[in-house]
Each structure stands twice: as C-alpha cells, then as structure tokens.
C-alpha cells in the first residue's frame, strides 16, 4: 500500500521537479541573453533615412558604440547574486557540496571495514551489508562533483578577486587535486562495479585505495579553507612565502582529524536513515531483519565516531586560540557564544535519541530484563548533563530581572554556564552513552571466563574513577585562576578516553566465548525506532551545517583572517536567527537530494519492467500481420 502511494507521489513529483528545473534553465538562459553584448543594428544602405533626425539618431548610436568600445576593462572585485545575495548563495552551495562530500568520504571507510570483517569471518551478511552501503555512493559521488564544480564557478563569478588570490597562493595544489579526483573516480567505480568480480583481497585493495585517495582529496581542500581562518606562510600583505606553511597552518591538522571523525559519524547516520527508510518500506520479515541490522550498524558507526568527536573539537579550539586569542574569544565569548547553546541542544538531542534507540533495540534480544532496570538511571544522568550543558552563562532577561539578579548571570544557574560545568557535563554525557553501549553489547550474554567477577569489578572501578576525576576537576575549576582552569580540560578528556579504551578492551576479553541467554531477533523492534534513526540523521546534518557556519563565520569581515578583508555588501556577520534559517533550508535541500539518491539506489532491487498481457497481445498481432 505504502509502496503504491510512494510511487504515486514520485510520479507527481518527477514531472514537477522536471518543470521546475526546465523553468530554472530557461530563466538563467534568458538572464544571460539579456545581459550579453549586442552589435548595434545597421540598416541596409539603400534604406538609410537621410532626414536630420535620423542622422542625429545614427550619430548618437555611433557615439554610444565608440564609447562602449573605448570602455576600459576593469577587474571586478565582487558581483552580486540575485535575490538572496552572494554570500547566502555560496554558503548554500558550499554546504551542500560538503554534506555530499562528507557522505562520499565516510561510506567507503566503514564499507571497507565491514567488507574486511566479512572476509575475515566468512559471514556473507557483512559482504551484502558493505555492498548495500556502497550502492549509495555512485550517485552521491556525481552530486558531490556537480556541487564542487558549481561552487568553483560561483566563487569565480561572485568573488573573483578573492578566488584569484587563493589560486595564487595554492596553485601548486590544484593539479594534484584534479589528478586525485581521477583516481577517486577510478577506485570508486571499480570498487562498486567490481563487487564479486575480483579476488576479495584485490577488491579490498580497491577499497583501501578509494579511502586513501578520498582522504587525500579532503586534506588538500582542508588546506584552502583552514588557510582562510588561520593563514600562515604569507607576508602581512598576503605575498606567498611558503606554500607548505600555507597548507600546514595552525588549524589544518585539527580540521583534518575532526572532519574524518565527523564524516564517519554523519555518513553512518545517513546510511542508518537509508536502512530505516527501507525497513519502513519492507514487506517481509527477512527484509525487516536485514534493514534493522543495517540501521543498527549505521547508528553504531555514527555514535562510535560521535563519542570521540568532542575531543577533536577541543584540539581544534586549542589551535584556534593558539593562532589568535581574538579569534578564539570571538568564537567562545563573542558574537558566536550563543551558537554553542544551540549546539548543546542539538548534541543533547543526539545523545538522547542515540540512547533511546539503543534501549529500544534491547527489546530484540531475549533475556534483556536484568539490564533494563539501569535505563532509568542512565536517562536521569543524560537529562541532567543535557540541562547543564544547555544552561547559558547570561540569561535573557528584562531590565528589572537583571537588576534583581545583580547582573545578567543568574545567582545560582550562572555557575552552570561556565566552561568548568560544561566540560564536566559533556564528559559525563559521553561516559553515560558509552555505558548504554556496554549494556546493549552484553544484553543476552553472560561472561563465562573464570575472572568474570574481577573483570566486572575492574570495569566498574575504572568507570567510577573516570567519573570522579571529571567531576572533581570540574568543581576544582571554580577555585583556581584562568591559567590553571584552562588546562583542566585535558585531564578530564584524557580520563574519559582512557576509561573508554580500557573498559572496551576488558569487555572484549570478558565476553569472549560468552554464554547466550537468548537469541537476537533482528527486525523485532518498534517502528518508532526507525523514525529515531531518521531524526538522528537530520540532527547530525543540521549540526554539521551549524558548525560549518561557525567555522567559516568566525572570520567575520575577513576573507583571509587578518590578510584580506571582505569589502562586499555581505561582509557583516548575520544574526544567529538568520544563520539557522539558512542552515535549515540547506538541510531540507540535502534531504530532498539524498531522497533522490535513495530512490535511485533502490531501483537496483526493483523487478524488471514487464509488458502487460494486452500490450504483448498487440505486439504479437502486429508481428503476425507483418509476417
């Protein structure tokens, strides 16, 4: 029923999209034609009107033509884009390009790992899953390249002087970039179309090549954008001193690492959303079981990458401060400080949704009851941390309220708005979500190793020690000077990372050869869980859009911070309300396009077109008449 309805909607949407695209193309063509230079019309000599008025008009035209020809060539600094302006146009296209690029770079990473697991274990389900993920790639790759070309042209047209400057700084990087793009296409298409056609190790080699080339492409592009934020290797006037220094600027490596991790989280969430979509469309238990498993793996990939992401974020922020305190303070204490409250809402939602999905997923495993009692405590912990993280330092209040509070900070809640409280909250949030993962992992299993009791005790002790260190340092931060306080986040982060790694290692050995108390029934999960996966994908996408904005917007009225000033009409920093609207529109555009990608990917599984009996009869009759 749903499938039929979906087809009807697609039948309607297809022509509508076609008409809109056609109208757009006609409009653009007519715009270009209207602005093109036209040779003045010259009447044939025999028809020339020799009256004084006609001669005057002809002279006027000739004069205008002479002036037009004498007009000197002036290099444009900026051009304007109709209706939304140049900045929003570039912003939207760049964001779409980045979202598709993130997806295209992330999916091969985990498809490769899943395929390798399948090769190692000999379980064909992994191979099928890896192939299913890879099916989403080819259309996405084309869209990434299209938006990349679109972005380049938009930059050349709308910001010619700035683009020219960037080209002059980074010219040695462009040809390798294009070359790598060829290799990327080669590896991607041979990886996809060569599935099952080569020896598995050769195929895995193609996957490895695809990942290496893809990551290298991203590293080159990252050099361009990080240079804009933290330029290096150029003089005060912008003259190039060292291309390598321009590439290896302060924020290049932190952005590289941050993007690899964030791309995996984002790609996993979008792939999980695809699985959710297919689960909801599925008509058989077998299909539901497969897509439930695929959704679980996608979400597992997303959340596993998401947990260490804040640590990469810390590093990036540290390097921003190291480059320029002003830039760092603009980010955390200036125009963008409230953006991090929005970010807290998004990340809080992500943690809540990811945990909710895991708790729902426990229902598919027999023997879950002993662990379910812990869920309410995890929920309380997550909610409290979320509340602390989303508490702003300064409260939006009326004048009388500010007077009553003795300042813009609330006398009690104000203490939760500082970094000591927020660092503590986010670290405990990560630990709690990690605990949810552990609970899910051990659902339906009992450790049978002889040292099981000691293992559980040690795990609990590590967890408690990490939580103690995080909370203690969080409180201690209120009583020390800024120079000391800033450094406290490092041991907080380290203790959480050490706890996660060591507990995972113990867990792997602890549950090796564990006894099963019940089966896992893939596909037996409430349908709402699939909507949660889609919600997570939308939230991830929105978060990427928002953080992309702050990374770029941080430069404020500079194209290249401190080197090349933005003198365009769009040089101002828009309000957060406006920025969030642009992000939302871009996210909706992305999901419309990714819907098309999903649809095209699903064509592969459709049965071949069959002629109706009537048509076949007509064809037979026609054939008989001919013979």
């Amino acid at each position: 029923m749903n499938g039929a309805m979906n087809r009807k909607v697609l039948i309607i949407l297809g022509p509508v999209a076609g008409i809109v695209m056609f109208a757009g193309a006609v409009w653009m063509a007519s715009l270009l034609v209207r602005h093109e230079y036209r040779e003045p019309y010259r009447a044939p000599a025999a028809a020339v009107d020799a009256t004084p008025r006609a001669e005057g008009v002809t002279a006027e035209k000739a004069d205008a033509e002479t002036k037009a020809r004498a007009k000197p060539y002036v290099e444009a600094e900026y051009r304007t884009f109709p209706i939304v302006g140049s900045r929003v146009a570039i912003w939207s296209v760049a964001q779409l390009h980045l979202l598709f690029a993130a997806f295209v770079l992330a999916v091969p990473l985990f498809a490769f790992i899943i395929e390798a697991i399948g090769y190692k274990t000999g379980d064909p389900r992994y191979d099928r899953l890896a192939y299913e993920f890879t099916k989403l790639l080819s259309v996405s790759f084309s869209l990434t390249a299209t938006f990349g070309a679109f972005l380049t042209f938009m930059l050349v047209i709308l910001y010619p002087k700035f683009t020219n400057y960037m080209m002059s700084v980074f010219s040695p990087t462009f040809l390798p970039y294009v070359l790598l793009f060829f290799f990327e296409a080669f590896f991607l298409y041979t990886y996809y179309y060569g599935w099952g056609k080569f020896h598995p190790l050769v195929h895995l080699g193609l996957g490895l090549g695809l990942n290496l080339v893809g990551t290298s492409i991203m590293f080159i592009a990252n050099a361009w954008l990080t240079f804009m934020m933290s330029p290096r290797g150029v003089s005060e006037t912008g003259a190039v001193l060292s291309v390598w220094d321009a590439v290896y600027n302060y924020t290049w490596m932190p952005i590289n690492v941050h993007r690899v991790i964030a791309n995996i989280a984002f790609g996993g969430s979008v792939a999980a959303a695809y699985a959710a979509f297919k689960f909801l469309q599925a008509e058989t238990d077998e299909e539901r079981a497969h897509y439930d498993w695929m959704g679980y793996i996608g979400n597992f990939v997303a959340i596993s990458a998401f947990l260490p992401l804040p640590f990469a974020g810390y590093w990036l922020a540290k390097e921003i401060y190291a480059f320029s305190q002003t830039l760092g303070l603009t980010m955390m204490g200036g125009a963008f400080s409230w953006l991090f409250i929005i970010q807290a809402v998004l990340i809080g939602n992500l943690f809540l949704a990811a945990n909710y999905y895991l708790w729902l997923g426990m229902g598919r495993v027999e023997g879950v009851q002993p662990l379910q009692k812990f869920i309410k405590y995890l929920l309380i912990g997550i909610t409290l941390c979320f509340a602390v993280w989303a508490t702003p330092r300064s409260i939006i209040a009326t004048v009388s309220e500010v007077r009553a509070m003795g300042g813009s900070a609330h006398p009690v809640l104000g203490y939760l708005g500082v970094m000591s409280a927020k660092n503590t909250a986010v670290n405990i949030l990560i630990l709690t979500t990690f605990m949810s993962f552990l609970l899910y992992r051990r659902t339906g299993k009992i450790a049978t190793v002889t040292w099981a009791r000691i293992g559980h005790t040690v795990q609990l002790a590590i967890f408690a020690a990490a939580a103690f260190v995080v909370i203690f340092l969080g409180i201690y931060g209120y009583f020390v000077e800024a120079t000391v306080r800033i450094r406290l986040s490092v041991p907080q982060v380290s203790s959480v990372l050490i706890a996660m790694v060591s507990i995972t290692v113990i867990d792997v050995f602890l549950f090796r050869g564990a006894a099963r108390t019940g089966e896992v029934h893939w596909g037996k999960i409430p349908r709402i869980s699939q909507y949660v996966l889609i919600f997570i994908a939308v939230t991830f996408t929105w978060l990427m859009g928002l953080m992309g904005y702050v990374r770029s917007g941080l430069r404020q009225h500079w194209h290249v911070y401190g080197i090349m000033r933005d003198r365009s009409p769009d040089a101002f920093t828009p309000s957060l309300g406006f920025a969030t609207k642009v992000v939302s529109v871009t996210v909706i555009e992305f999901f419309l396009l990714i819907g098309v990608v999903f649809w095209i990917a699903s064509l592969h599984d459709r049965p071949d077109f069959q002629r109706t009996p009537k048509k076949i009869r007509q064809a037979e009759t026609h054939e008989a008449e001919l013979t």
């Binding site: 749903n2 303070l329 209120y478 909507y531 101002f572 957060l576 609207k581 992000v583 939302s584």
Partner: protein, 189 residues
C-alpha cells in the same frame, strides 16, 4: 486513512529542522557589522578623544571581547577598572601613556602576573587601529582611575616619540630588576 511513508518522513524532516530553527530564534540576535572607517579630525579635544576611544574599544578595537570593567572573580583577561592607577607604576620608567602604548603595540613585552599572553598587536590586522585611534583609546583608559591628558599630538615611543627600547618578554618581571607588585585580579596588562 494511512499517511504515506514519504509524507511521514517529510513531516519528520521538516518538523525537526523547524524546531532547530525555532531554537535559533530564541537566542539573542545580533548582527555584527564590520568596523566603520573612522576619520578623526585633527582638532579633537581630549574630551572628544575619550568618547571616540570608548567607541573604538566597543567596536573596531574588539577590546571588550576579552576585557571587562568592574568585574571580579575568576577572569580570563585583566579587568580594566582603575587601570590608570596601576599603569603609572606598573613598569619602572614608563608613564601610564607609555605603558598603555606598550600594551597595544607590543603586548607580549609585559604580561600581568596570573594571566596568559593572548592580546593581539593592536596596530596590525585583524584589529589594525591607527596611531590616532590608539591615542583615543589611551585617553579613555586614563579615565579609568585617572584624568585624561593625551591629545592627538602626544608622542610616545611607538609613534616617533621617545625611542626607549622595548623590554624583553617577561612574566611579571619589570626592567631594572624591581619586582612587580603583587598580582591583582582583573588587571590590565
């Protein structure tokens, strides 16, 4: 009537983005304009310079991104309340004007004890104040605990005035071997 799957997913996507857009409208809204190019008249009085200095500190100078006036507690950068009093005796041999000028032209020459280096060079991008604008800022800083004395003709060692060599970077050490006074929380470097 069953709502088609595509419509349900579409509603979820739209609803989620609408919610986040709503959150984005709930936070304070501020559009930050690029700093206006200020043309200073050559006949500005000291009183005028104080006003201009305050404006520059709030806008183009980005001073209040980090510094505060009259705030106590665990501060990340020195507070500026009463700063002129400390500036007069902060470094031996430097007047308050010289000290303020050094803090802006050569910010790492002296770091107030208890604080980390972090102040950008104010006469260079991204802030890029002119010599005259810096004089206006100095005039305003003098009002915080003292009386403004500078004019647009005032000379100091960074605008072709007395050419005193800059002290090497130090953490609280003052030239001449004298010990700096005990760190005061919220102090201007």
């Amino acid at each position: 009537m069953t709502v088609p799957l595509i419509a349900r997913i579409g509603a979820l996507v739209l609803g989620t983005t609408a919610f986040y857009t709503y959150v984005g409208q709930m936070v304070p809204q501020k559009e930050v304009q690029p700093p206006a190019e200020i043309v200073l008249k050559s006949d500005l009085t000291t009183a005028d310079m104080v006003k201009v200095g305050r404006e520059i500190m709030e806008g183009k100078g980005l001073c209040f991104t980090c510094h505060t006036i009259g705030k106590t507690g665990a501060l990340r950068f020195p507070d500026l309340a009463g700063v002129d009093v400390r500036a007069k005796s902060r470094e031996a041999g430097l007047t308050d004007v010289d000290y303020f000028a050094q803090a802006m032209y050569e910010p790492n020459a002296f770091i107030v004890p208890g604080f980390n280096p972090g102040m950008p060079t104010i006469n260079k991008p991204p802030v890029g104040l002119t010599d005259q604008e810096i004089l206006c800022v100095i005039s305003y800083l003098q009002t915080l605990g003292g009386t403004p004395t500078v004019t647009l003709q005032t000379k100091h060692r960074y605008n072709a005035g007395t050419a005193t060599p800059a002290a090497p970077p130090s953490q609280g050490a003052s030239p001449g071997g004298t010990q700096p006074e005990a760190p005061l929380k919220g102090e201007k470097r």
